[in-house]
Amino acid sequence: MPKKFEMVLKSIEIKNFRNHIHTKLEFSENLNLFVGGNAQGKTSILEAISYLCLTKSFNANSDSYVLNFNAKFFEVLGTFELDNGNEVTVKVNFENGQGKRIFLNKENVEKFAIVVHKFPIVILSPRSKDVVQGTPEDRRKFFDLAIAQLSSVYVDDILNYKKVLKQRNRILNAIASEEVKLEQGLDLLNVWDEEFINYAAKVTFRKVKFMNDFILFFKKAYSNFSAGEDAEIKYLTQVEVDVQDDFEVIKNKFEVALKKLRSEEIRRGVTLIGPHRDEYVFEINGHEVKRFASQGQMKTFLVALTMAKFFYLKEKKSETPILLLDDAFDELDVERAKKLISFVGNVGQVFITATDLNVLSGIEGEFKMKKFIVKLGTVNDA
């Protein structure tokens, strides 16, 4: 039997969240399996857990979507036991017209990034396959979240970068459309450039450092599922950046690149470089996954990304992440899913949804496990 895990979600209380009117659950510190038919409320429980760690759902783009149709507020209350044995409660409260408030040990939290940073979580859901099969934006989001979970400053840097980018684009556009006099426009562009370079370099610096570490975790994870294949993640920036480059060097590279692009940017009225255009290219044996990989290889890539993120966060942070697997047996196939659960289940707490109560047969004996039956928004121990 495994020892006590580091960060554990001990219990949760959910009110007016999707089809859960009032659900109270005590969890196993190891594996938790939610079983039930379609549309009974399994995923909703994982979404509620996601609110405690990420301050939002991994499925819904708006808080109002998870608010029960007939209710005016929803609430999720979670009790965590941290590595040092301390208990922490997180309460998320949303009310129509009032917005969302979050309380850490009853104290109101202004900066949600603090929660995201404090309670690491890794989620694999049907949407996750977009990371492998979707747009460059989907991949940037995946890695941005991972970095944000490591560093709450990164969230500010990204937000500020996006703001500066918008403002800078507006100036470029005004110059391109001759809305402002060229000379004044260029004066303004110069000052926005300073801030743009500053934030572009900050964001890029962190991304480069992150990938330099992450890739090792990823390759190791991948080899557990498919030995003999060479899987790669290439992080392509608009300016060529080396891992050795310090912040000032990267700033300098952006400055040079902007100068070169000056007239083209003015002609097109839009910013042509920067981390918002970065690409992550996934490859197996030198071939791009999105174009050439089989369904099975894509699944292996996804499961390796998930596992790498889990062990990466575990090593870099003081708390072990919790893992949510929503419909993983369909998304990854049973064997891959079981293997992932075996690896992670030895060191952390896992929440799994499935339609079949015996889906973990074969590995069940290795873990402490609690099974729940979910039906019409109510939950009972199996």
Binding site: K166, Q167, L188, V191
Partner: protein, 199 residues
């Protein structure tokens, strides 16, 4: 809801012009005014007219004032060689509360924001440069809020002042980013002014 009274409807329409006041709130306010005794309503009207008639902008620093120049600009006790540049009159209040700063101010009235169409001409930046170029100023402290727009405006202003050979500093980023000066506590503002850095 349509009112039979045209005067009530007019009042509601005027009230909806206020920032953050929607139609519903305007209706509530209008009905509240209607229920007040006449003297109370007269007091309110007078107060509104007074702000408009008595309060003006100082022709030197553009802070709000009842006298022109304002008490700060005309005080013999203030250090006339230092100007602190802020966004809004509220920021002057916040810094004055610390009792630590004895120089003059310049209220530029906002920050550069291309998306909202706010360029240098919409701010009192030309006026600042004019003050600086008229001599006698040794230091300009830039105390704009630490938003990306505030930072950019700081750089823009510093670039304009530097050619005059005057020291330009900016208050330390002791303020957590996103915290407006107006909301920062006194100790934080004092620390930020003390630890200002040369631009």
């Amino acid at each position: 809801m349509l009112y039979t009274s045209e005067s009530l409807e007019t009042l509601i329409e005027e009230l909806t012009k206020f920032p953050g006041i929607g139609r519903k709130t305007a209706q509530r306010l209008a009905l509240y005014i209607l229920k007040q005794p006449k003297e109370e309503v007269e007091k309110l009207v007078q107060a509104i007219i007074n702000v408009k008639e008595k309060i003006k902008y100082c022709s030197i620093c553009y802070n709000i004032t009842e006298t022109d120049p304002c008490p700060i600009c005309s005080s013999p006790k203030r250090d006339k060689t230092t100007i602190c540049v802020v966004e809004e009159p509220m920021d002057v209040l916040a810094i004055e509360k610390t009792n630590e700063y004895n120089g003059l101010y310049h209220v530029i009235g906002g920050v550069l924001n291309p998306l909202e169409g706010i360029g240098p001409d919409a701010l009192k930046i030309k006026e600042l440069i004019h003050r600086v170029s008229s001599g006698g100023i040794k230091e300009v402290i830039i105390a704009l809020n630490p938003s990306v727009e505030g930072e950019t405006t700081s750089i823009y202003i510093a670039n304009l002042i530097k050619p005059f050979g005057i020291k330009v500093t900016r208050i330390a980023r002791g303020l957590p980013i996103g915290t407006a000066l107006e909301y920062a506590d006194i100790a934080t503002i004092v620390r930020a002014i003390e630890n200002r850095t040369t631009m």
